[in-house]
């Protein structure tokens, strides 16, 4: 393998921000699908976490577009994508998909919280009455009939939201998978892999936060809900990892021109982040841990500690996967004769610090949201 890259390829165009975007939308889609498992598919065990997952999805959604805006050379023209969409482009539907999903999530949250908002408004001890009044748009009516209608609407919206959430994130995968010029990206499996990895990251972040918050607040964990989520996580992560490895296996077996360069990518620039980090440590490690947690009868406390660690490991696995796709694909020269290199800066416009801030803000927002509308039954009990 030589060391030649086209002169314009010395600069990597899509950097840390484009790694962040699919990562955050993955959390959005995954968290939403968990909430829908309860609302649509009636998995009662997930009820304690359904509200939390829905609001988490919304919090991440609010900031998912920020990395993209920061990345654009002309962010002031971002709305051109909706004003003058060029429909031969896979990217042109982005604004509409994003908007549709946002509307669905906002409506679902509104109907979900409407009864809470009315109750708080009517409570004699309530402070911030005006805020609650605005939140439920002045409609203070609440009875069994309105609750039934609200629930029905939430269920319908959650039902519509599942395919839209899958589209939102599968679409990001398609943006990469449809680039025929890039040998590392160009695969029809890319959008399916993205959907499953999104679900994995969504469940992982919910488990991680659920255990973390309950540990901090010293609340009792709903073990049934946690066990159910762990089983789902186990299943989805197996599908996600197997799909990705099968894609790689078929590439290797076909021995095409693509593989001639990609084998050097995997064993060279991506050795640590892909083979060691993503596959061996994070994927295989979390598979073994989850298998142990699900199949072995471990003491509950030990099991929960392992679940916490595994969810963290899988969160790292998914961000490594995003990195390996986005950055890895651009390291391969389109001349098929070498690799370029990339090292993110810390303080630059699209650097590590900005990425960390964008990632942390949704969590801070969730914390504030929890103060207005507590997520978990235990904390709700405390307030009331």
């Amino acid at each position: 393998m030589g060391d030649f890259v086209f002169p314009n390829e010395l600069h990597v165009t899509w950097t840390v921000m484009i790694v962040m975007y699919p990562y955050i939308t993955g959390l959005v889609a995954g968290a939403f699908i968990v909430s829908s498992l309860f609302h649509v598919f009636g998995l009662k065990q997930l009820e304690p976490i359904a509200r939390f997952s829905l609001v988490s999805s919304f919090a991440f959604l609010l900031f998912a577009g920020l990395p993209l805006l920061n990345h654009l050379g002309k962010p002031e023209r971002a709305l051109n994508i909706m004003i003058t969409p060029h429909f031969t482009s896979a990217m042109s539907g982005f604004g509409f998909v994003y908007l549709t999903y946002t509307i669905i999530v906002i409506l679902e949250i509104w109907f979900h919280y409407r009864a809470d908002s009315v109750d708080r408004y009517n409570s004699p001890k309530a402070s911030w009455k005006a805020v609650y009044y605005i939140l439920h748009l002045g409609c203070t009516l609440r009875n069994e009939e309105t609750d039934r209608i609200d629930h029905k609407i939430v269920k319908t919206l959650a039902g519509i939201g599942i395919p839209v959430a899958c589209i939102l994130h599968g679409y990001v995968g398609f943006l990469f998978g449809s680039i025929k010029a890039n040998p590392w990206w160009s695969t029809p499996l890319m959008f399916i892999i993205f959907i499953f990895s999104a679900i994995v990251s969504g469940i992982s972040v919910l488990i991680f936060l659920y255990l973390f918050v309950n540990f901090l607040k010293k609340h009792k964990i709903d073990q049934n809900a946690l066990d159910m989520m762990v089983r789902f996580l186990w299943g989805f992560m197996i599908i996600a990892v197997v799909l990705e490895l099968m894609d790689l296996l078929s590439l290797a077996y076909e021995q095409t021109e693509r593989w001639a360069v990609l084998k050097y990518l995997i064993t060279g620039p991506l050795w640590y982040t892909y083979v060691i980090g993503q596959i061996l440590i994070c994927s295989l490690g979390s598979f073994l841990l989850l298998t142990g947690i699900v199949l072995l009868k471990l003491p509950q406390k030990l099991s929960n500690i392992l679940v916490f660690l595994t969810s963290g490991l899988l969160l790292i696995q998914v961000i490594l996967m995003r990195w390996n796709v986005v950055i890895g694909g651009q390291l391969v020269s389109k001349s098929y004769r070498g690799f370029t290199s990339f090292m993110p800066g810390f303080l630059e416009k699209e650097g590590i610090l900005v990425a960390a801030i964008i990632f942390i803000v949704p969590f801070l927002m969730l914390r504030q949201f929890d103060r207005i509308f507590p997520f978990f039954p235990a904390s709700k009990k405390n307030i009331s």
Binding site: G2, F6, W14
Partner: protein, 256 residues
């Protein structure tokens, strides 16, 4: 009271007439002299009569880098980016191949890479935007800022591009970049501002070996068709099905 008209003498009249004639002659000559640098004419009145194409004759290129320098100056290409560049290929007797393009070949190529080995074949390949008929970059632009002009040139509307970089990813030839000084996509335009004034592209004008030829495929007497009818030619990455309009004479199998 009637105004008394001022009369001039015959001598004064002749002198004035001579001065005027001389003035007109000198002025005309100056104006004519200036015209030499003016364009041949504005050809943009009917774009449908044009279909611009390009030929790179790799057998003639000597890798002097004049084209890269001329393009950089003419189009104010930012440092480190290239609308056109030159690649050097060296193949030794064991079929080992080395390719390089230091600074896009802008300052020519100083020495062989394979000094210690026997180079059996070496050649230069200039590259530029292929202005594909079925271009990936125009397909993927989400806002339609990159487009095909009616005369077959792929252009970027700098006032509409939002700088997402999707076209950069989609171009199989590495011809695009996001210009850091303007924040939008940029690439070779076939010197659109020149060819429609009858002037050659900057790289064509600078090439001392006539390794670059451009022309209008709809003109039956254009130099591009003449060469394509007489020589065997190829295109880059035909498997991408982009249908490029930049044709290569003497393209080696090793060139991607």
């Amino acid at each position: 009271m009637g105004k008394k008209s001022k009369s001039i003498t015959r001598g004064e009249f002749v002198r004035l007439a001579l001065y005027s004639t001389a003035g007109v002659c000198v002025g005309s000559m100056i104006a004519r002299g200036n015209l030499k640098d003016e364009p041949i004419g504005d050809l943009s009145h009917d774009l449908e009569n044009f279909d611009w194409a390009f030929i790179v004759d790799t057998t003639r290129c000597i890798g002097c880098g004049a084209c890269v320098r001329a393009c950089g100056i003419e189009n104010r290409v930012p440092d480190g980016y290239f609308r056109t560049w030159i690649e050097r290929y060296e193949i030794d007797k064991n079929e080992n191949i080395r390719v390089d393009s230091p600074d896009g070949g802008k300052h020519s190529f100083k020495q062989n890479q394979m000094q210690d080995k026997q180079v059996v074949k070496g050649f230069f390949v200039p590259k530029l935007c292929n202005h594909c008929r079925n271009s990936s970059c125009t397909q993927v632009c989400p806002v339609g800022a990159t487009y095909h002009s009616p005369d077959g040139v792929v252009l970027v509307d700098r006032k509409h591009c939002m700088g997402c970089g999707y076209c950069v990813q989609a171009c199989p030839y590495g011809c695009r970049y996001i210009s850091y000084d303007i924040g939008t996509a940029d690439k070779c335009t076939f010197c659109y501002h020149r060819i429609h004034r009858g002037l050659p592209t900057a790289c064509v004008q600078a090439c001392p070996r006539r390794a670059r030829i451009y022309g209008n495929l709809k003109d039956p007497h254009n130099p591009v068709s003449a060469v394509l009818h007489a020589r065997r030619y190829s295109i880059l990455k035909p498997e991408m099905a982009t249908n490029p309009k930049c044709y290569y004479i003497g393209l080696d199998l090793e060139v991607i």
